[in-house]
Point group: C2
Chain length 246, copies 2
Amino acid sequence: MRLPSNPLPRIGILGGMGPMASADFVVKLVQATPAKSDQEHFTTTLDSTPQIPDRPSAIEGHGADPLPAMLDVLKHLEAAGCSLLAMPCNTAHYWYQQLSAGTRLPIVHIADAAAAWLREAAPCAKRVGILGTAVTCRLGIYSARLGNEWEWVYPGDEEFARFITPAIVAIKSGDLVTGRALFLEAVNRMAEKGVDAIVLACTEIPLVLKQADVPVPAVDSTEALARQTVAVAQAMYKNQQAASSI
Amino acid sequence: MRLPSNPLPRIGILGGMGPMASADFVVKLVQATPAKSDQEHFTTTLDSTPQIPDRPSAIEGHGADPLPAMLDVLKHLEAAGCSLLAMPCNTAHYWYQQLSAGTRLPIVHIADAAAAWLREAAPCAKRVGILGTAVTCRLGIYSARLGNEWEWVYPGDEEFARFITPAIVAIKSGDLVTGRALFLEAVNRMAEKGVDAIVLACTEIPLVLKQADVPVPAVDSTEALARQTVAVAQAMYKNQQAASSI
């Protein structure tokens, strides 16, 4: 365990789902931190274990269960002295309850992070599109967490088959050009459904699309999670300081 | 410790010096890995501890010794099951011998990585400029490791004071625009010295400069370290496979 003299909370990242999305999260975490020197940044441990079995395959019933591997990573993040955790993978939040039960550390939920962003950047939005894996959408990972504060709009079967699933495969194989072209199509189809905002609810999407590519306010779920993680870490630090001054 | 069934070497990163340079290294490590799916990427643990005391201050005799904190991070990377280590900070290589003596794991040396890049990308280069902290240059971190295979050219006192040191402070405080303008000046001054190639020998520099900004072949020390780390991990994996098939 870390020496107790280290005053700043340590942020733990359950990463590797996928590895580039995790790297993007580390960049966005640094960018989201208000700091004027190295020493003001939070300590961070990234455990990137891309060998965690594929999440959509497991949920669809034809792949190994990723939960044991994810719990193993959590144990390593605890041993590294982490104070809070984040998972830059939307689909992995299907196991959020089991993961939370498997650790004494708080896990920042990606849907909470996206909701905070929506309330701030698109306060009048009512119909919100979720662009993510078929699994994220069909299992209602966002609606189950956030309820009916927004009317959720999902891609149809054709969009998953023709654009979204092949785009994710392309990005994970390093072909960002194909991934971008396919996700642009998926965004246009979603915009035609008359949504007020779109959540880029797969952390592979912000690797190829920016706000300028989306005709309505877009929530980068990776960046939203980074901001929320920094906010939670800052609140922990303040509480810690307040407690130690009593 | 990791289960022995995990066949791929785990890459450990002694990070936080600075945090954005470490994040950039994680991105470049993923980009340097030939992989067609998540599962083909190396497992990686980044320990970003930006509270490691400032390296140049310590070497100049007016700051805390960073070695104990760096050794503490190495212990955590060992406990995380890492097989090899990398430090995306040129100045930190001043302590390379003590760090190597403090761990049973190999540490990829950033100067070896830059040398491999130079031999491949600029095979005819003779005079090579080193653009880094005053400490990296004055202590000859590159020349001590690489000897006289190249004629090393360093910035002068004026360049350190007017451009390089303020540029690094600016980048670490998040002001990339000022950092870039100052480093462009430093590059131009170095190019006027008649060098055949320039090593961007501070991992903050590639955050603001690209090859297109440099009039001679430029070695991005962060990317060079990423490539070399992947090469060493691949070699370890091959040896491991060969040993297990006997």
